[in-house]
Symmetry: C2
Amino acid sequence: MTVGNEKTTVGFVGLGIMGHSMAGHILAAGYSLHVSNRSRSKADDLVAKGARWHDRAGEVAAAADVVITMVGYPRDVEAIYLDSGGIVERVRPGAILIDMTTSSPELAERIAVAAKRRGVSALDAPVSGGDVGAREARLSIMVGGEPAAFDEALPILKLMGSNIVRQGGPGAGQHAKLCNQIVVAGTMLGVCEGLAYAKRSGLDPETVLKSIGAGAAKSVLLDKMGERILRGDFAPGFFIDHFIKDMSIASAEAERLHVELPALHLARRIYEALAAQGLGREGTQALFKHYES
Amino acid sequence: MTVGNEKTTVGFVGLGIMGHSMAGHILAAGYSLHVSNRSRSKADDLVAKGARWHDRAGEVAAAADVVITMVGYPRDVEAIYLDSGGIVERVRPGAILIDMTTSSPELAERIAVAAKRRGVSALDAPVSGGDVGAREARLSIMVGGEPAAFDEALPILKLMGSNIVRQGGPGAGQHAKLCNQIVVAGTMLGVCEGLAYAKRSGLDPETVLKSIGAGAAKSVLLDKMGERILRGDFAPGFFIDHFIKDMSIASAEAERLHVELPALHLARRIYEALAAQGLGREGTQALFKHYES
């Protein structure tokens, strides 16, 4: 198999907001595309453009040289890869498996081991950049796995991302993504506490941002989320529920690695309280509501 | 008095690393400069260039149209302004007082009231940008006080800063600076926890920064402090002791305003533990050491 020419057949499992955009880029680049998703309707426009539908992830794997997955939770990843009739059982020898879900490093390692037994390489390749990054093919893709498989997958990954870095062996992509989420968790706490203080002290938060938005406090989150918070816009760029999933994986890994991360713990506790209040489908900037209550 | 021409006499009290650079810009712009400082030797080069030395802050005030102070702690601010023989007692009618120390909003309000009784305007104008910002006259200056006094002081402030914003009445500059420090506290927690996780999970933290340094986790602190932490450089840009002072003021104000800021509280607790271990004169990036111990 030679990835990177148009004879390569690509399978894509999981056509949520991000997966749908990502699969679309691969189809648009001229690859033969096989897709599957929990609800079939999400695949309709891709099928209309020539993608082949399959009811099960295992069937996609049986048809493809490169199998990409972008699903919800680690339990979903585990099921589609490791269950009987799943991807690892049905995959063609010599293929490459790429899980782009944010999932557990330990599971990524298990999948890599199971894949190797079948003569197949597996990469973990979670992303950051959200729905906009996926739509504009400007994702940051953090990859774990063997160098040879990374090199081979690179032409496909380049269709979806603009910053593609191999972080190490199996699981390393997931570890790097968790680092990203840990930094985001602390930064979000700082942004929301600073803005909450600004409002409570009687300042005009927009004027405060003019002073603090250009110095040491400057961050992408202060800039983007700060502006949304002040507009009262809590619509999801990234769901609180999904962020809680990521933080839960990070907490479990941190515990396994014997490193205490109290700010991550604090952020997770507050977000879980917000989800318990029914805010799980709001954007992560709704953390601010905790400080207003 | 007309501030902004070279007949204006400026007093500057507090010639620490930042104050010394700031006073130097005013002298270089051709103003008549009167200075005072706890240790006289810090004034030697300014005096050699024409500044007039005084042993006490009150004497500086008696000689100046604009009195600027940049000292250590709120207790120092209170003493030089409000003690017998201090700035408020000795200041000339019609002068402007500008405290650029990061200090308590409540104290700034008290000074403004006391100054008004003497027919004098007082501004609180704390800065961010550190020693480099002071040296390069690129500070962000957050100002609280009356609009007329702000307008009059602006030509002098412009000699020291590039981003000068009036945040509201007396105390508002201090409140805005506290917002800045609250955002910084949370962001520093995120940066250090993310890098600690990266190291503990066996990743190469520099490679991780290549993935996460351009997306949602991006911040000035991740960029600057991340690099210093990975080099093992814990030299102070900003002392842990001074950051603890700022966080203590912010905590006290938050309590007074009935807003709970648990991430600020967490950061302060960890920094205080580091100071108790003798690290108070290291830079704030030494927060990372907490996660290595």
